[in-house]
């Protein structure tokens, strides 16, 4: 059909111009970053920037190399990863389960929803000192802080995913002869999955935030602990290299999650 061919061509053109725009934005970003780093380095070498407080790109890289070659960094990386991953898993399961139950049982939702909304609107990190007081300075308190942050996000993803499901689609499945199981599989599961996938980056980011903040407050290992140590010893090189390392890890994970999300939510995109 002629109209279809025409629309296909215009879609293809849109895609092409979209890609080249994407590329040029990338180049621009990278350029700005390089200029910033060069100015910083230059400032540090000419003495215009005090490296005692502000370090410099080359000193940060040196510190990172030293951290990795001495092997000192590994136990800290492992501790943070462990806190984030376990917090993520537990928070994911518990948040999803409670979200599902609350969406299913009205009485439960009437009890739980106001609490969760309150929890969602205050900075949840204020609970961290309390958790450390109760659970001590070991790994448990870090997992618990990550857990609390993840739990609330997952609760709302699942709860809203079920509550805000498109009722017309449920009617449609019934009209086509589907039973309750068909409705769950074809409407609820994909709808909730979409909410979970679109909040995945937020969730994982929170898991790391929880772990690192917990470590920062009270711990003897982890990237958060390193930040705390660097602060107490006024070591800008260590501080900034740790920040760079955390950013690099998060960016890597986000890139992977972005791919996963695009894959899972492919139906949302205009091809």
């Amino acid at each position: 059909m002629a109209s279809e061919q025409v629309s296909n061509i215009s879609v293809a053109q849109k895609q092409e111009s979209g890609e080249s725009k994407y590329l040029s934005v990338h180049i621009l970003r990278l350029g700005l970053l390089l200029v910033f780093l060069a100015l910083w380095e230059l400032g540090a070498r000419t003495g215009f920037i005090d490296t005692y407080f502000y370090s410099s790109p080359s000193r940060i890289i040196e510190t990172l190399i030293q951290q990795f070659s001495s092997g000192a960094i590994w136990k800290h990386l492992a501790a943070t990863m462990q806190a984030a991953i376990f917090g993520l898993i537990y928070g994911f399961i518990a948040g999803a389960a409670l979200g599902w139950l609350a969406a299913r049982f009205k009485t439960l939702s009437q009890i739980v929803e106001p609490v969760m909304t309150l929890f969602n609107s205050v900075p949840r990190i204020v609970i961290a000192p309390m958790i450390i007081m109760w659970l001590g300075i070991g790994i448990a308190s870090k997992i618990a802080v990550a857990f609390i942050l993840v739990f609330v996000v997952l609760f709302f993803a699942v709860y809203t995913g079920i509550r805000e499901v498109n009722k017309d689609l449920i009617d449609r499945i019934r009209l086509l002869g589907g039973n309750e199981r068909d409705i769950i599989l074809n409407v609820y599961v994909p709808s909730v999955a979409a909410w979970i996938f679109s909040s995945l980056r937020l969730t994982v980011g929170f898991a790391f935030t929880g772990g690192i903040v917990g470590e920062y407050m009270a711990s003897s290992r982890g990237l958060g602990y390193m930040l705390n140590f660097a602060q107490n010893s006024q070591n800008a090189d260590l501080m900034l290299s740790t920040v760079v390392l955390i950013m690099a890890i998060i960016m890597l994970i986000f890139a992977l999650l972005g791919r996963l999300e695009a894959r899972a939510l492919i139906w949302r995109e205009d091809r």
């Binding site: 059909m1 279809e4 879609v11 449609r172 086509l176 589907g178 139906w267 949302r268 995109e269 091809r271």
Partner: protein
């Protein structure tokens, strides 16, 4: 296997539809009651094609929703073959809704296959039937696309295939073609016309287009403006089938009928603007 042979051997007869003294109230947010339909009586004989026209907001879509089992009358009864409609009846009723109701996370193919899958048809049979229908609605090339990647008219054609593939003996359509471009619309109307003439299914069709109603239906029902809408006129289109959509427009009888329908509707449209 068992399901498919059962489906073919028990090809259901087209049912008769009766609306008995239907009232439908809607409660608005501030508690006011809006009576959309008030005492609607209407019969659709088995195997006939009835088009319902009326000014916007007169409750035409509500009538269809009640017949589909998605909605219930506040009082009165909707009957299919002397059986009161109490819920959806997917074996008898096919409903092509006005709004877009494709599953966004399923491809075109999967969307069209849904009804057959719910009926546990074997996979090969689903594949061949769905592909047939996709060719029929000219979407075969797009079978692996998702609804978000299609135009409004293409999505409509997916919905049409999804509904008609189940070959329902009672077919309900709520402004099915209004979002299509003129050519596609013409083609779909021709297809529907060929389905209609056989008397193998009962069709209730809601539209705001009088020409479309009169050219395709056996009977056109005009609803009065709401609130308290009732049946204002019932007009038999006594033009022989098979009909030709283009030739019918120059038929003098067609001219008389659409003229009469327009006069009826015009009064109602004026009423609804008068308020």
């Amino acid at each position: 296997m068992r399901a498919s042979t059962a489906a073919t051997s028990t090809k259901l007869q087209p049912p008769r539809v009766v609306f008995k003294n239907i009232t439908k109230n809607f409660r608005s947010k501030n508690g006011d009651i809006y009576t959309a339909l008030d005492g609607v009586d209407l019969e659709v004989p088995a195997g006939k094609f009835v088009a319902i026209v009326g000014p916007s907001g007169c409750g035409k879509s509500t009538l269809l929703r009640m017949l589909s089992g998605l909605d219930r009358p506040s009082s009165g009864e909707v009957m299919i073959n002397d059986q009161r409609v109490a819920g959806v009846m997917p074996q008898i009723v096919g409903f092509l809704q006005q709004q877009d109701t494709l599953l966004p996370w399923k491809t075109v193919f999967e969307n069209v296959a849904l009804g057959l899958r719910f009926r546990k048809f074997p996979a090969e049979e689903i594949k061949s039937r769905v592909e047939d229908w996709l060719r029929k609605v000219n979407l075969y090339r797009f079978r692996n696309h998702y609804p978000a990647q299609l135009s409004g008219g293409m999505r409509r054609r997916v919905a049409i295939a999804q509904t008609l593939i189940l070959d329902p003996p009672l077919l309900l359509m709520d402004e099915p073609f209004s979002s299509l471009d003129a050519q596609t619309r013409y083609m779909m109307e021709m297809d529907l016309l060929s389905l209609a003439g056989s008397g193998e299914r009962t069709i209730v069709f809601v539209t705001h287009d009088l020409d479309e109603a009169a050219s395709m239906a056996d009977t056109v029902v005009v609803l009065a403006a709401g609130p308290h809408s009732r049946v204002k006129a019932i007009v038999d289109v006594d033009i022989e089938r098979p009909r030709d959509l283009l030739a019918i427009r120059s038929d003098p009888r067609f001219g008389q009928i659409t003229r009469f329908l327009w006069d009826q509707l015009y009064e109602e449209v004026n009423k609804s603007y008068g308020k």
